[in-house]
């Protein structure tokens, strides 16, 4: 699975590559995907085979690791509808495939989940789940838990209704679906639902916390990461922003968007929910990863997860109950002054709240948040959470949004700019126990790649201008870097090859929301291009070119 484990740590136990020898990493082999859009996926390795799924048209490649140069074993083309590119808000990305019991599962941009035989690439089943005519697409990496393939939809900028669906891994038949808005029976809220905070208790809050009917196009999509705790038998996943962005069109808390659900993976029944961003004002979502850890807090071990939210706060949450134990800003935040640990609600800064007819200047963080989709890594050795993220703010004017199915439903004019310091990206080693950054690396461009931590004491990430970097996990010292052909927004992984050596693999291929200025060939005289990125990323096209390529490194 892309995250390496159910806990979403992205920690590799391999320790051959160390700070002492990482400088001699060399390219072992490469593989071109032949595609030009943003490559956000993680390669996955099993059965002496490396599997990778591309952005639209979502080709699945299988490379033979037991042969010199890792030649292509087979490829599988799902041939998704070309029209689906028109409902992909933020480049036509795919965040990866997952392996389970001899099968590869992944999603296609046009809303299908596909199961393919991992040995020969023949299609086992496909399930059409999303409808592009309603603006639904699928970009997330599935997670397989106890024979169920868990998948969610994208389309929060198109007024879709978010859901997480569990499919039988053998047949593709739907086991359950949990919507993120609407009546309790659709959200799978029943007798087991025991949220920690009183504002999450009541009947049909997914209807009552919206203006009439607005929940039907209210967003809350599930396009991020799912983690699973086998001991508690709970999955944890975030729900995305409410639609439209213009908050004036949806008074109320807009449940169950921009928060986190804990559910029973067998039945889908909700156990608890916590809303990071009630009545989300800033497209802060709640989809970022929930990294499962056990932490000593106040003298006792607590079962928690760490969640760096788009709103700029790093949450440590009790994963049994949904109680927020701490919430600390990890970037410069001026839209929220603090998180009230008694009520769980953010204390918002009133003059930064968007209002129709008014331009609000310098809201930090911007709509992409203090950190967007790019997943962080946890090292149990250093006990740091390595967070790839951005340092961006924005000016915003909200305007009335018209709902026309299959077209954007946003209602915001945005222009972004670099936050304090002028650097647009940061790679932060966050000391979770101490609640502060141990060190951070400033980057010129947003750090839009995932992070990888290894037992050897080296952490990896990539930059949007194409540098793949290895740092000392303890000190953050740059130990090695390699310039790839295109900007890196993929998820680095490490695996042991059939020859017994440790390999590090990453996809290059700039794009994604932050890199769409290159892939979409924006005219950056319009600084609002790409939902506000045109101006702040205007120099990216001069610093990298398109092109998907897998790079795999090893020691000589």
């Amino acid at each position: 699975m892309p995250a390496g484990d159910f806990a979403n740590t992205r920690f590799s136990s391999l320790e051959d590559v160390t700070p002492a020898n990482v400088a001699s990493l060399k390219v072992s082999f490469t593989f071109s995907t032949g595609l030009l859009r943003g490559h956000e996926a993680a390669p996955i390795v099993t059965n002496n085979t490396l599997y990778l799924v591309t952005p639209y048209p979502n080709v699945l490649y299988a490379l033979a690791l037991d042969q010199p140069g890792a030649p292509l074993k087979w490829k599988y083309e799902p041939k998704p509808s070309a029209s689906s590119q028109g409902v992909a808000c933020c480049d036509t990305v795919n965040r990866g495939a997952v392996y389970d019991s001899g099968r590869i599962f992944f999603n296609t941009l046009d809303g299908q989940t596909v199961a393919v035989d991992a040995n020969d690439g023949h299609e086992l089943w496909r399930a059409q789940l999303g409808d592009i005519r309603k603006g639904e697409s699928m970009t997330m990496a599935p997670l397989v838990v106890k024979g169920k393939v868990l998948v969610g939809n994208s389309g929060g900028e198109f007024g879709v209704r978010g859901w997480l669906t569990a499919l039988d891994a053998n047949t593709g038949r739907q086991a359950w679906r949990a919507y993120s808005t609407g009546p309790d029976k659709d959200v799978l809220i029943g007798a087991d639902f025991k949220p920690f905070y009183p504002q999450e208790r009541g009947t049909d809050l997914g209807v009552k916390s919206w203006p009439p009917e607005a929940w039907k196009r209210g967003g809350g999509t599930v396009w991020g990461w799912i983690s699973y705790d086998p001991e508690l038998n709970l999955i944890f996943y975030g729900t995305a922003n409410p639609g439209p962005w213009n908050p004036g069109q949806r008074p109320g808390d807009n449940k169950w968007t921009a928060g986190v659900f804990a559910r029973d993976p067998d039945t889908g029944a909700a156990k608890w929910f916590y809303q990071y961003n009630p009545h989300d004002l800033n497209d802060y979502d709640g989809v970022n990863e929930n990294v499962i850890l056990d932490l000593e807090i106040g003298g006792r071990m607590r079962k928690v997860f760490a969640h760096p939210d788009r709103n700029g706060y790093l949450y440590v949450i009790d994963r049994e109950t949904g109680e927020v134990i701490s919430a600390t800003p990890f970037v410069n935040v001026n839209t929220i002054s603090s998180i009230d640990l008694k009520t769980g609600r953010p204390n918002r800064v009133q003059e930064k709240e968007p209002v129709v007819g008014k331009v609000i200047r310098n809201m930090c963080p911007h709509a992409g948040g203090g950190k967007d989709w790019q997943p962080s890594a946890w090292s149990p050795v250093t006990r740091y959470l390595y967070i790839p993220h951005q340092n961006l703010c924005q000016d915003e004017e909200v305007v009335p949004a018209n709902y026309i199915a299959g077209t954007p439903y946003v209602g915001a004019n945005v222009k972004m700019h670099a936050g304090e310091g002028g650097h647009r990206g940061v790679f932060t080693a966050w000391d979770v126990a101490a609640g502060r950054a141990a060190w951070e690396i400033k980057e010129n461009f947003p750090v839009w790649s995932g992070a990888l931590a290894t037992a050897g004491g080296v952490v990896f990430y990539g930059t949007m201008d194409g540098w793949f970097k290895a740092l000392d996990a303890r000190s953050g010292k740059l130990l090695w870097q390699f310039k790839a052909g295109s900007g890196i927004i993929g998820q680095p992984v490490s695996y042991r090859g059939p020859d017994g050596k440790q390999y590090i693999a990453v996809l290059s291929g700039v794009g994604g929301w932050a890199g769409a200025v290159v892939t979409g060939k924006f005219d950056t005289r319009d600084v609002s291009a790409g939902n506000g990125w045109g101006g702040v990323m205007a120099d990216l096209p001069a610093n990298t070119q398109q092109g998907g390529m897998l790079y795999v490194f090893s020691l000589p």
Binding site: A88, P408, V414, K415, N531
Partner: protein
């Protein structure tokens, strides 16, 4: 009942024979009209046989400030802006630059809006009345200065994201798309 069966069978045979004749017919002498693109729309710079594309009718809205400003409002209301931003592009391509994938002529732009395009442009056919489509066409062309300068909008009512259409200046449309039509 049984006495009618032979007649039915005969009729069936006759029908089958007739249909067979039609299937085998060679209509060699028939004069079919030469194939012409609908409404003069072409999507290629190349024309087999080398003859020039037909002249297209004059586009009246290119010099009409009212139609262009109506188009600007419709551009927002029909969510064109959601995909093309203020002309710089987002989910869909930029409209203020010189690249025209499906043609820059008013007819081409009209067809693109009404028919949709296979890589994600939705079809708005049946959703927008023709006159409003033409107003949108006028505004789309105004974004890259393809209309009379004094008819181009000179100010925006929203967050300043770029120079006004009027002060952006015009570009020369380039593409492997149809050549610009004589104005």
């Amino acid at each position: 009942m049984s006495s009618r069966c032979p007649e039915l069978a005969l009729a069936c045979v006759a029908l089958a024979v007739l249909a067979g004749c039609h299937r085998e017919e060679r209509r060699v002498s028939e004069q079919l009209p030469a194939s012409t693109p609908l409404e003069g729309i072409v999507l290629s710079d190349l024309r087999a046989g080398g003859t020039p594309p037909p002249q297209k009718p004059e586009f009246i809205y290119q010099s009409n400030a009212y139609a262009i400003s109506q188009g600007k409002q419709l551009y927002e209301w029909f969510n064109c802006k959601g995909c093309h931003a203020d002309g710089g592009g987002a989910i869909g391509p930029a409209l203020m630059d010189d690249r025209w994938i499906y043609g820059d002529s008013p007819q081409n732009i009209y067809a693109t809006i009404v028919e949709g395009r296979p890589n994600g442009m939705p079809s708005f056919g049946g959703k927008i009345p023709p006159q409003q489509v033409w107003q949108l066409v006028a505004y789309v062309r105004a974004l890259s200065g393809q209309v009379r300068k004094d008819a181009d909008p000179g100010r925006a009512d929203h967050l300043f994201t770029r120079k006004s259409e009027q002060s952006l200046g015009s570009t020369t449309p380039r593409a492997s798309s149809p050549p610009p039509q004589p104005q």
